[in-house]
Subunit: 343 residues, 2 copies
DNA sequence: CTGAAAGCGCTTACAG
DNA sequence: CTGAAAGCGCTTACAG
């Protein structure tokens, strides 16, 4: 007696597949795959026929199947310190826009300025076989670096121009920007120039290094004017910092805050306490955030090209993914000092 | 002559697969799959053995294969109007955090307050077979609604409490919040109360409706005090709006701005032009954004539970995905009036 | 330039 | 409670 044949019902998901398109176009499935992916080795008329068939059937490729078969996905992982911050909101929105236009999805992760949290996110995202990575800055744990080196996933580091071996970077020189603000304060006659830094992430410290370097060159450096506070940058903290500074160092005649929220807070605090800006103290900020032009007095700041950085980072990534060798590993998009009434 | 057998080299990706874990644990692959997914129908000791084998081999399931085989993914799509806005930054960060902890990825999309762009995003995201959707508000195109109804993907609408048929909502009553601010202004003796609205998205219009309703009830409504500007909400626009208002309606004694950035701009504008706040004009804002407590005078506003909304929306989604029927389709998290010096 | 076969790494749908 | 078979919808690696 023979065993009755086992009948297993097919799954029938109802999706339109490459096979359907192939039948419609009168070619094989693999030709559909090639034609739709833009593979060169397909006759032009076949490409056209396949395209029409795909359109007629409203075919949408299944990303899960693509990813499984090719062991590559169309996901780009983007890790930023915070989303609740205009600087990174602008950045991330631009990256997302550019990638989506070319068929790539963006997976965001928030590191809260913690390299260990970044490593944890990398570990949970790598099994998704991302096509690419965009990381903020170049300050990563040893574990993250090993992870990156071990994979062949292209990586773009944004916001800084610090080159990371094997990776790409798109940003501007935070150090130079720190120098630029400091030069401006020196040239406008200030002599007791303080630095107000919060959060103290690597980019803030690079700006601080620029500040220090320029003041040392000018023989004006005084370590007691450097105020570094590890708490998150905020408007309220800026007010508090100016207050503390004026009490501890009454002769201060300028403050360079590492971010506009601090500087805006300082301006509001000065209004409350009667400190005259810029007569008594000049105040400069960083990032030219919304509202800085509306302050009383309006705030001198540095315009940083966040959206442009996001777009260029995405384009660079897309080039690499398309097999195009970018002309340079390191794109410097610069910055611009915006002088207003506060200095 | 027989055809020589065709030899096709296997791909050998080097990944640790269910088969490897199965061999190590001495069970079949399907048992590994079930044990790791927490399927009930597996003997406890087997679950333990499989877990140990998986740990020993550092097994990580392949999401692409899972998704292809089960035709479900662990992606939750989250669509918000903007990322470059604290309100949505807070929301999105909370959603992302909660989902990631439970093994779900978040795919963001930015609609720029445009329902058509939302529909476009939905169309490009649905082929990814998202496990769930989180949409801002309940103002969707007919196309989006059909798309949602046609799929069985659970959907949570955030920021409002407007129920959408079949969907869930987590937020607060924008209308009630509008009433609350207006009541406060009336009760503190104001009579010529203006409304300053920008962007004019559905939630702003719901606040405006609350304002209108309360003033009508009090017999104080005057359409010429309603200033609606479709441009994006910003600090600069707030200054401009107050200026325009004071020129057109000099008798105005209070302004309810639909968002704190407008209100902050108005306060700064008042400082510049010498309008006395709150003596001549009371000013109230919305969302209690950063810095509102630092303004001069400090700004009366409404604290909205963005992060909490994000967390609850994620939890609700996770419950639904786990097959747990939530007790209610509509979660109202309320709001709180924060009275400060400006009113 | 085109295609038949096999495989990617899981889970579904049965059967027992 | 456990498993053998088939299938999910693509692409790789060959062969011609």
């Amino acid at each position: 007696m023979t065993n009755p044949p086992r009948i297993v019902r097919p799954r029938a998901t109802g999706r339109v597949t490459v096979a359907d398109v192939a039948r419609e176009a009168g070619v094989s499935p693999i030709t559909v795959s090639r034609a739709l992916r833009g593979d060169r080795n397909v006759a032009i008329d076949l490409v056209e026929r396949v395209r029409q068939a795909a359109t007629a059937l409203a075919y949408v490729p299944d990303p899960a199947a693509q990813s499984l078969a090719s062991s590559r996905s169309r996901n780009v992982v983007v890790l930023v310190p915070l989303l609740s911050n205009r600087v990174f909101g602008d950045l991330v929105e631009a990256i997302q826009d550019s990638l989506l236009q070319r068929g790539y999805q963006t997976l965001f992760g928030v590191t809260h300025y913690d390299p260990l949290e970044e490593e944890r996110l990398l570990r949970s995202y790598m099994p998704l076989r991302p096509a690419g990575l965009v990381l903020t800055g170049s300050d990563h744990t040893e574990g993250s670096r090993i992870l990156l080196r071990g994979s062949d996933v292209p990586c773009v580091h944004v916001m800084e121009t610090t080159p990371v071996n094997g990776g790409y970077s798109v940003g501007f020189s935070q150090f130079d920007a720190g120098c630029c603000v400091t030069d401006h304060l020196i040239m406008t006659g200030r002599r007791r120039i303080a630095f107000g830094g919060a959060q103290l992430d690597p980019r803030v410290m690079q700006r601080a290094a620029g500040y220090r370097s320029r003041l040392q060159d000018a023989g004006l450096y005084d370590a007691s004017l450097e105020m570094l506070d590890p708490r998150p940058s905020s408007i309220a903290l800026g007010a508090e910092m100016l207050d503390r500074l004026m009490r501890m160092e009454p002769a201060v005649d300028a403050v360079f805050f590492c971010n506009d929220d601090l500087a805006q807070g300082a301006l509001l605090g000065a209004l409350r306490s009667g400190v005259k800006v810029p007569q008594q103290v000049a105040i400069a900020g960083f990032n030219d955030l919304e509202g800085s032009d509306q302050m009383l007095p309006s705030l001198t700041s540095v315009r940083t090209p966040r959206a442009q950085i996001g777009r260029r980072a995405a384009e660079l990534m897309l080039d690499v993914l398309a097999g195009v060798q970018p002309p340079t590993h390191c794109v410097d998009l610069g910055f611009e000092l915006i002088r207003r009434q506060s200095t």
